[in-house]
Structures are given as C-alpha cells and as structure tokens.
C-alpha cells in the first residue's frame, strides 16, 4: 500500500504487488502463531488426557466410524481447495468459485458431524464440566471447529468479492490466503485425528 503499486505481471496474480506479497508473508507468520496456539492445546490435552475424574473415558465416547467420515470430509475439502487455487492460477474464475463452494460444502458437512458428535457426547454424560480430560478435549476440538466455522464465513465473504470484482490481484491474494488457512486447518486435524482419536483408541 505504501510502495506505489508496482505490478509485476510475470508472477501469479496474488503475488503481483508488494503489498500482496507482504500480506501473504504476514499470513504465514500468523500461521506460525496458530501452530503455537494449537501446540499449547495439544500440550494441555497431552497432560490431562487420562484425568477422567470418574467420568467417561476415550473408549466410552469416541466413535471411530464418525471420526473417519469427518477426516475424509476434511481431507477432501483440502484437496478441493487446492483445485480451487489451481483454477485461480489458470484465471478460471468460474472454476475457482465452483471449487470454493464445493470446499465450503464439505467443510459444512464436517461441522455438522462435529456438532452431532458433541451432542452425542453430551448424551453420554460427557460435557466440558465433567472432567479435566473432557475439558481439554472439548476445547481442543472446539477451537478447531471454531476455526472451520470462521473459515467458512470468511471464504463466503471472499466469494462475494470475487463475484463482485472478478479476479484482481487483491481478490486473488485474499483467495490464496483463505486457501492457506483451509489447508492449515486440515493439517491440524491430522494431528487431532492421530493424537486424540487414534491414541485414545489404541488397545
């Protein structure tokens, strides 16, 4: 914004101006902070994960089938988000928007499952207030879920802007950044899948 907007057209749209490059770098740094944030939640979970206080344990509440579906939904959405960015780089606005919408639909599916999962837990008598284990579980999953929710809302804003303004360096940069965010949430999920669900289900 400060540098006069010198445009380097040899680069993909989202990298063309200095300000856009700075935004993208800034977002990567922000992702570094997000990694630390989730690491802390994982650390907390790792410390508290066997403190059931007489309440339900992992095996009492985890349902592997649902978790697998959630995982596949999110993995697929990460893939479709990749395709969306791929289409953006080919300057195919329509393709971009279609793949973004598919991504969000998958994300919404994931969220739907997660909310159901929470309701199911509550039915089993497993709430955030039951035990330290459940507090840390709900907050870890909930933080991830809240990020997905935020991502959906944010991506919707970006889609509206794409529809209104078409593909410009600015909208391209915004799309690229939401793409990074979405992939990142998938990365976090991989670790939740492994170190929460699978770990809890090891015989």
């Amino acid at each position: 914004m400060i540098m006069s907007a010198k445009v380097d057209t040899s680069l993909p749209l989202e990298y063309q101006t200095e300000q856009d490059r700075m935004n993208i770098l800034g977002f990567w740094v922000f992702l570094g902070a997000e990694i630390v944030l989730f690491a802390t939640l994982f650390g907390v979970y790792g410390v508290l994960y066997e403190r059931f206080a007489g309440g339900p344990t992992h095996k009492d509440i985890f349902v592997i089938k649902d978790v697998m579906i959630q995982t596949v939904l999110l993995l697929t959405s990460s893939f479709t988000m990749g395709i969306a960015i791929f289409e953006m780089r080919r300057h195919n606005l329509k393709g971009l928007i279609i793949w973004l919408v598919i991504t969000l639909a998958l994300g919404a599916g994931f969220l739907f499952m997660e909310i159901n999962e929470f309701i199911h837990y509550a039915h089993e008598g497993a709430t955030m207030q039951t035990s330290a284990f459940l507090s840390s579980l709900f907050v870890l999953l909930g933080t991830h879920g809240a990020h997905v929710t935020l991502g959906i809302g944010w991506a919707t804003m970006v889609i509206i802007q794409l529809l209104k303004r078409g593909l410009t360096p600015t909208t391209a940069r915004k799309t690229f950044i939401i793409g990074l965010y979405w992939h990142f949430l998938d990365v976090v999920w991989i670790f939740i899948f492994t170190f929460v669900y699978l770990k809890g289900l090891v015989a």
Partner: protein, 101 residues
C-alpha cells in the same frame, strides 16, 4: 509459480490427495487392527501424521513458493521447534518427580 499456470490437470494435487487418504487409513488400520505395543503404534502413527502434514505444507500450501519461500521455511522450522518445546516440555515437566504418581 514455476508450474501450474500452463498445466491443465492438477496432477500433484491428485497425488497428494490419494497419498493422504492412504496414510490416514494406514494409521487407522495400524491402530485398530494390530496388536503392537502402545509405544510402537504411537511412533508409527505419529510419523505418518508428520509425513502427511509435511505433504500438505509443500504440495498444497506451496510453502517454498515466491520470494519469501526461504523465510516461510525458517518460520515453519521455528514453529516446529516451538511445538516440541511446548508439547514435549510440558509433558516432561508435569509428569516428572512427584507428579509421576
């Protein structure tokens, strides 16, 4: 930026997607269907998770792309260092000494 603009089929994405599905199901299978010890299973599935995360970073998020690719890499390495400090450090400190009930 090197690739893609010209290509019409996102081959690397498809490969990445397939591999990530394979890794996911492999981890689930090892956890649920084998009788290995807890430690061994955790090491295996932990490694699979790290591989899969790395793949996302490089293949989907284009970590090293652009003029700040190197910065991004350093950023991620530092973040991983922090993860180890926070997770391993906390668990070590809080389960040693008297806390090792």
């Amino acid at each position: 930026m090197e690739h893609q603009q010209s290509k019409s089929f996102p081959i690397s994405h498809v490969i990445g997607f397939v591999v990530s599905l394979v890794l996911t199901f492999a981890a689930a299978g090892i956890t649920l269907k084998t009788n290995l010890s807890f430690k061994v299973i955790m090491w295996i599935i932990g490694s699979l998770a790290v591989i899969q995360a790395g793949m996302q970073l490089f293949m989907f998020m284009h970590l090293r792309e652009g003029e700040d690719g190197k910065t991004n890499l350093v950023n991620m390495i530092y973040a991983v260092f922090m993860v180890i400090v926070i997770v391993v450090g906390s668990i070590w400190v809080l389960t040693s000494g008297h806390a090792a009930h």
